[in-house]
Symmetry: C2
Subunit: 153 residues, 2 copies
């Protein structure tokens, strides 16, 4: 098994294929990790969520980490880790265009019935709650790939 | 699509099936998420890693989050989130038995060629580095499951 660091271009390629990842946020030294579906465009990650713990936490501490992987087998996988900053696309006139853009991008997804996106019967996301649209502005991105051969491709 | 909270027993069931998860740690308000393979036994998660960023961070701040999911389709999935505490099984006489136990458990895995477990050619995990064995003592665990029917099973 050969493992190597991915170049910036390869990281971008992997990112553009990804739609499911794990988002880490932190509050008071406690990390919290949740699965999210998203759309990536130009080092911006777009997603939405019902109100809840991760939104509460990211509003207080916008520093996040997004991890994505594509595991074909234990000896054939790619993993990308990006630091980023949460930016809520609030429902205010100044951000109307950005929200509309996010909405269009997210509509291209096959389904909305996904982890983190659906209202669950509990106090934080009850009936009538409005989804939060947000963007993650990606910073430093690193990646690794494992394969059975030493081929670069 | 029906989404519901899992009971404690169901969370344990999902945990016992899992071997791949995402581990979140945090330092100075920056979260960091990496994929790890592990073995679960009695609310303890056993894993090992070459030296590197996540080990450095968890030694400073042992508060972690472990997230696992089993996604069959966007409308059929289970996701478990557990908070936990990093406990390094150091190579000292007092922990010899615990290390041996962890080693035996981890040997039952099909392969060691997995993310986070293999030396990569870079300063933090070069040739000759020794793997770090560690345990995560799980605290509060929550889980959700989505399915096409409202059946409890």
């Amino acid at each position: 098994v050969f493992i190597r660091e991915l170049t910036a271009e390869e990281c971008d390629q992997e990112l553009s294929r990804a739609s499911l990842g794990r988002l880490g946020c932190a509050l008071d030294h406690q990390p919290y990790v949740v699965p999210i579906y998203f759309v990536v465009e130009d080092h911006h990650v777009y997603s939405f969520s019902m109100p809840g713990k991760k939104i509460d936490w990211m509003r207080i501490n916008p520093r996040v980490c997004l991890q994505m992987d594509r595991v074909t087998s234990p000896s054939d996988w790619a993993s990308i880790i990006a630091v980023g900053r949460f930016d809520e696309l609030r429902d205010i006139p100044e951000r109307r265009e950005e929200r509309a853009h996010a909405y269009r991008l997210l509509q291209t997804r096959p389904t909305w019935w996904e982890p983190g996106s659906v209202p669950v019967t509990r106090p934080s996301g009850g009936v009538g709650a409005t989804p939060i649209f947000y963007r993650i502005d990606l910073g430093h991105i690193t990646g690794q790939r494992a394969s059975q051969t030493s081929n670069v491709a």
